[in-house]
Every structure is written in structure tokens, then in C-alpha cells.
């Protein structure tokens, strides 16, 4: 067990330093571009089980007001990156900074007060609470904000205001997604993390989610979204990351990525044909 783990670790550290030394590639680009980013992650290594890392030195940043998409094949570590940023899993090495402040390893509830919002992929509402109470939970740490934030959120999602007394457990998947986004927006976060918001929704509802996401972003919130629906995601993103095996394979603007032949071949291929 231990020897296996050791031999597993070594090549990772090697490639990590390699990438760092070879400053013409990803790390160098990241270093230059991410200078004053709102939120950045540097060489993050993290995983669920000790000794089995999902993220193997991942670099990432998002600027103020940016909408960034993260795509990649299954198991690439897309959701894991979000969870690592949000302090839901332990980061074993690397740093995460928010406006220059090191937030690595901070608990989720601390990050919420610092302006980071998170919408999980599943189980993202409190089913036995009403819609209004769900939104209230979003401002748990600052109850005074409720009135103002509630207006803001119901402005974005009018349906939530109309059905405020309905229990979230009785809502459909798309409606729940709205409640979940609304809840995360209540604290007026400067950056919103969305974990596969379109998963499990009908194509029409998926479109709605992407439109909403763009809308939220236009309202001044930086958004990081992880998506399975890579093509659709890259269409609305300012910038995209392609993750592979826990490392960034490509980074470019959304448009460039969707036109990149390698990305098309690897990740958009089937979609492009469809």
C-alpha cells in the first residue's frame, strides 16, 4: 500500500516541477495572466481519499466580472476543483487566493462571508423548507441583507417570489436549480461556483439555465461553471479551461476553445457531429 502510494506520487511531483520550469507553457501563461485575479488557484493537489489525488497540480484563475467555464472528460477533476476552492475537500498542496488573501483550507461557511457562493450539482435545496426559507438560509450569516437580496433574486427569478411559501421538496429539477442559484446569490457573492447546473435537465431548461447564468454574470457576479455540455458552455463563456487528469490541458477564450481542432476532436467531437 505505502510503496504503491510513493511510486504513484513521484511522477506527479516530477511533472509538476517540469511544467513549472518550462515557463513557455501553461504555468508561465497562468503566472502572467492571473496576476491580479479575483480568485486564483495555484498548483492545487487534492483528492477524496488520502493517497489518491484527483487534482494533480491544477492552475486556475477568474477575473472580476468574468464568466469562466471548466470542461473536460468524466473524472478529469472538474467538480473536485470547485469543491477544493470552496473548502469542501482538503487541499493537500497548492494555494487558493481570493483578492490576494490566502483562503486555502478555509471552511465553506467562512468563504460564504467572504463573497464566494456555491451551487452543488445534486441535493442543492433544503426540501422541507419553503422557497423563502431556502433563500433565507443563503443569508444565514447576514440576516439583515435578506430583504434587499430577496428583491434582487426574485428580480432574476420571478417564479421564486410568486411561490415563496411552497416547499422546495415539491419542486421540479429546473425549479430546484433556480432556488439553488437564488440561495447562493443571496449573500451577493463576488464569485459564484456552479457545479454542472444543466445536469439532468431537459434541453429547453438547459438553455434557460445558460441564459440565467449569463444574466447573473452580467449583473456583476463572476461565475465559474463546470459543465458536461461543453459546447453550450463555451458559447457563453468569456474564457474556458479544459481539464484532463487533474491538470489544465488548455486555456483560452471560449470562442477559441470551441474552434480549437484538438479540443473539438477530444471533447466536442461527438457534440459537433450531433
Amino acid at each position: 500500500m505505502t510503496t504503491q502510494q510513493g511510486s504513484d506520487d513521484r511522477p506527479r511531483t516530477d511533472s509538476g516541477t517540469e511544467a513549472g520550469a518550462d515557463s513557455g507553457t501553461d504555468r508561465g501563461v497562468h503566472e502572467r495572466a492571473a496576476g491580479n485575479a479575483l480568485l486564483r488557484a495555484d498548483e492545487v493537489i487534492a483528492g477524496y481519499v488520502p493517497g489518491v489525488n484527483i487534482l494533480n497540480g491544477c492552475d486556475f484563475y477568474v477575473d472580476d466580472g468574468e464568466l469562466v467555464g471548466i470542461i473536460g472528460p468524466n473524472g478529469a477533476g472538474k467538480s473536485t476543483l470547485l469543491k477544493a476552492i470552496f473548502g469542501l475537500i482538503k487541499v493537500s498542496s497548492g494555494t487558493i487566493t481570493l483578492r490576494g488573501e490566502d483562503i486555502t483550507g478555509q471552511k465553506a461557511n467562512q468563504l460564504v462571508t467572504k463573497g464566494v457562493g456555491f451551487v452543488p450539482q445534486t441535493n442543492n435545496v433544503f426540501p422541507s423548507l419553503t422557497i423563502e426559507e431556502n433563500l433565507q438560509m443563503g443569508v444565514f450569516q447576514a440576516p439583515k441583507k435578506f430583504k434587499q437580496s430577496f428583491e434582487f433574486v426574485t428580480g432574476l427569478f420571478p417564479a421564486l417570489g410568486d411561490r415563496r411559501a411552497q416547499r422546495a421538496g415539491s419542486l421540479s429539477g429546473g425549479e430546484r436549480q433556480m432556488v439553488a442559484m437564488g440561495r447562493a446569490l443571496m449573500m451577493e457573492p463576488s464569485v459564484l461556483l456552479l457545479d454542472e447546473p444543466s445536469a439532468g435537465l431537459s434541453p429547453a431548461l438547459q438553455d434557460e439555465v445558460f441564459v440565467r447564468t449569463r444574466q447573473i454574470n452580467r449583473a456583476g457576479v463572476s461565475v465559474i461553471m463546470v459543465e458536461q455540455n461543453a459546447r453550450r458552455c463555451l458559447q457563453i463563456c468569456d474564457r474556458g479551461y479544459v481539464l484532463d487528469q487533474g491538470r489544465n490541458a488548455y486555456t483560452a477564450s471560449g470562442k477559441d476553445l470551441s474552434n480549437d481542432p484538438k479540443v473539438i476532436e477530444l471533447y466536442l467531437g461527438t457534440l459537433a457531429k450531433a
Binding site: L88, N109, T113, V125, F126, S128, L129, E133, M137, F140
Partner: protein, 433 residues
């Protein structure tokens, strides 16, 4: 292989130590006896009855005792067991009768080294023979009182289950602790002698008890369950830990409090107050009022306050609650403290209603489970409704079934409910996706 070696080793070692044995004396348990005072209620006074014959039959014993001039009688039975104590009604002096002439024989369990008191009620009953309806009304009132007490305890059980997933088998001991601590503090008979402390007013004692119960709840979470959660102890493992804790606490309380049943001096022998067909003691009415007020306060807190909503949110989805900025550990800590205080209050009220013993809480543990399951696991309101239903059912069912089987009925209903409506009365099947 390893197992076989270990068995062989164990056997060999015991054989070895056995050879090294030496001799000495052996223990004898103290004698057991059954005794009682025969006194006739006459114009508000109790007059000792002399010369009445009482027979005790049981394993190896068949002895008749005669009451002395103080009305006292004693039979040394010599060993624990169940004995039949019969009073010879013909031996009673003229004008003295058993209150219930059919109840001339009682079955009495005697535990080790116990002097067991047995009482036969004499003289006219203070209560008039009631109609079925009056009985039903009386039992409903008692059932409501019992249900409200169960509810106080069960709401805490349910909240702890909801927020942490723990099925807490030691919750009954929290109830017992409340009852016993209140007795200790109010009478001053502490298990550790505290010089100069002679007890305090019962209400002060109750307040002190609730504070101590809060502390116990805090300690439960801070010292045991919290660390276990952080270690990632599974829910079934935690449930078994709670069973161990329940055994440990229950017998520790037996050790400290002894096996006898006691009452709070302040509420001993209160005269009943009639409201229509219902006769309850003032303490009972006040208990019910307190329980209702407290339960309403809990309901209000859960529905309307920020912390209450957060508690429900944590019950629904701890991960999301944490991601929303709720301090999940803090909520759980609060739930433990509040749940223990509620259980302690239930213990005090139960102690007032039926006397205090070391397993007063354990005896209602299964009824609490029944209540919580009836109402739907993990929903506090379900627990409340379930408790009232169980309390009423247990008490009112004695109209038609023997009192000793009342719990059988309640537990049977629990099983039937699970068969037809596993989510409980108020439990809702959630929409998925």
C-alpha cells in the same frame, strides 16, 4: 489458525491460573423481606389495623404474618423472586374492609437484598365508581399528560436524529438523569455528601437541574458524539455506542440512586382537583401547562427563528447547510443542549407524575421511538404528534386491555404503522429530481 491458537492459549492460561489457586471465604447476600403497614382511612386519619393475617407464598416460602399494634407486618423471604402476598379478609376487624375486595392478592417481585413494601388499601375509596365515559375522559386526560411528557423527550430525540443521523438509545437515560438530579438537588440527598447543603425549593432545584442537563447535553456532543462524527464513525457504530452508554448510565444511576422508587417531597400526596369528570393533582395540571408552553416555544423556534430554520436546514442537508454559511457543528451543539434540557424536563414531569426510579426514562424509550417513528423519523412535528398519539393510546387502551399490556398495544401499533405507512403519519415521500 490464529483463532484456534488463541482459543487454546486462553484455555491453557485459565487452566494454569487455576492450578495456582488458594482458599478463602465466600460472600452471602443480605436477607430479603416483604413488609407493610395496614392502616384504615377513617375521617382523614389513618388508624393502624392490628391482628390482620397476611400470607406470603413463593419459591420455598409459605408464611403468615400478623400485623402488630402499629399495623406493621414483616415476612423474611430469604431470597429474591416473585411472591404472592394475600391478605385474609376475614381476619380484618369489623368495619374494616379492603377498598377493592377482589384485590386481596398481589404479586410482588423482590430483588436482591431488598425490603419490599406492600400496601393494601383499606376503607372506602375516595373516588366514586365511574361510568365508562367518565373513565375514558379521565384516562384521556392522563394520556394527554403522558403524551406531552413523551413529546418533550421525543422532540429532542428526533432533532438529534434529524441533524446527526444518530438513533440515540441513551436518550432515555437523559430523561432519568433529569428526574434523579432534580430529586438530589431538591432533597439535598446528593450521592456525594456536600456539607451544609440541605436541599432547595423544588422550582429552584428544577431550574438547576435543567442547567445541569444543558451541560450534560453539551458534554455529550463536545466530548463524545462530536469527536465520533469527526472521526467518521458510522451511524450503526454510533447507535451501538449509544446502547453501551445507555447501559453504563442506567446502572451507574442504579448504583447512585439505588433500586427503590422515590417521589419529590413537594408533590407527594397532593389532593386531586376535579374538572368535570377528570381528577388530576394540581401538579399534573401545571405539568401539562408547562409541557404545552415549552412545546409551543420549541415549535415556534423551529418554524420562525433563524436558528430553528437552520436546524431544519441541517436536518435536510448538512452539506448544503454548511455551504450556505451555516455553522453546522454549532447547530448540532445547540440541538444537543436543547434536546437534553427537554429530556430533563420530561424526566422531572414524569417523576412528579409517577415517581422516580433508575429506569424511568428507559421505560419510555421505546415509546419515544414509537412516537418518533409514527410521526416520521427526523421530523420534530411528527415526533410531537406521534407522542400525543402514543401517550393517549397507551393510557386510554387500558379501558379495554389490562394495564400491564398497555405498552404491548403501543409497540404493536408501531409495527403495524411501519407496515402500512413507513414514512410515518406526517412523514412525506420526497420528490426526487
Amino acid at each position: 489458525m490464529r483463532r484456534r491458537v488463541a482459543v487454546a492459549l486462553a484455555t491453557m492460561m485459565s487452566a494454569l491460573v487455576c492450578v495456582l489457586g488458594l482458599g478463602a471465604g465466600v460472600a452471602h447476600a443480605e436477607g430479603e423481606s416483604i413488609f407493610g403497614f395496614l392502616r384504615n382511612a377513617k375521617g382523614g386519619d389513618l388508624v393502624p389495623v392490628e391482628g390482620a393475617k397476611i400470607t406470603v407464598k413463593g419459591p420455598g416460602v409459605n408464611e403468615t404474618a400478623t400485623t402488630d399494634d402499629t399495623g406493621r407486618w414483616t415476612v423474611e423471604v430469604g431470597k429474591p423472586g416473585t411472591y404472592t402476598v394475600t391478605i385474609d379478609q376475614k381476619s380484618l376487624p369489623k368495619g374494616v374492609t379492603l377498598r377493592n375486595p377482589d384485590a386481596d392478592s398481589l404479586k410482588v417481585p423482590v430483588v436482591e437484598s431488598q425490603d419490599k413494601p406492600v400496601l393494601f388499601a383499606l376503607g372506602k375509596s375516595t373516588r366514586v365508581i365511574q361510568s365508562k365515559w367518565a373513565q375514558a375522559a379521565q384516562l384521556s386526560a392522563e394520556g394527554l399528560r403522558f403524551g406531552l411528557i413523551i413529546a418533550l423527550a421525543a422532540v429532542g430525540l428526533s432533532l438529534i436524529f434529524g441533524t446527526t443521523g444518530l438513533t440515540n438509545f441513551s436518550h432515555g437515560e437523559l430523561v432519568t438523569l433529569g428526574a434523579i438530579i432534580a430529586w438530589w438537588v431538591s432533597t439535598g440527598n446528593l450521592p456525594l455528601s456536600l456539607p451544609g447543603y440541605g436541599g432547595v425549593n423544588f422550582l429552584v432545584a428544577a431550574a438547576i437541574t435543567l442547567a445541569i442537563m444543558g451541560l450534560i447535553g453539551w458534554a455529550n456532543d463536545a466530548r463524545l458524539w462530536g469527536p465520533l462524527r469527526r472521526r467518521g464513525t458510522g451511524l450503526i457504530a454510533a447507535m451501538i455506542v449509544s446502547i453501551g452508554l445507555s447501559l453504563l448510565l442506567r446502572y451507574l444511576l442504579l448504583y447512585l440512586f439505588s433500586g427503590s422508587s422515590r417521589a419529590y417531597p413537594a408533590y407527594r400526596g397532593q389532593k386531586g382537583v376535579d374538572i368535570g369528570p377528570i381528577t388530576l393533582s394540581p401538579a399534573d395540571y401545571i405539568s401539562m401547562a408547562i409541557a404545552i408552553v415549552v412545546l409551543m416555544a420549541v415549535a415556534y423556534a423551529l418554524l420562525r427563528t433563524r436558528l430553528g430554520k437552520a436546524t431544519r436546514a441541517v436536518s435536510d442537508n448538512p452539506a448544503l447547510a454548511s455551504a450556505s454559511g451555516i455553522d453546522v457543528d454549532g447547530v448540532i451543539r445547540t440541538v444537543w443542549i436543547a434536546g437534553s434540557m427537554l429530556a430533563g424536563l420530561a424526566g422531572i414531569l414524569l417523576g412528579i407524575a409517577q415517581g422516580i426510579n433508575f429506569q424511568i426514562g428507559f421505560q419510555i424509550l421505546l415509546l419515544m421511538f414509537a412516537a418518533v417513528t409514527l410521526g416520521g423519523l427526523g421530523t420534530a412535528f411528527g415526533a410531537l404528534v406521534g407522542s400525543i398519539v402514543v401517550g393517549m393510546f397507551v393510557t386510554v387502551s387500558t379501558l379495554v386491555i389490562p394495564a400491564e399490556l398497555k405498552n404491548v398495544g403501543a409497540l404493536g401499533i408501531l409495527i403495524i404503522i411501519l407496515l402500512v405507512r413507513p414514512q410515518g403519519i406526517l412523514g412525506r415521500a420526497e420528490r426526487v429530481g
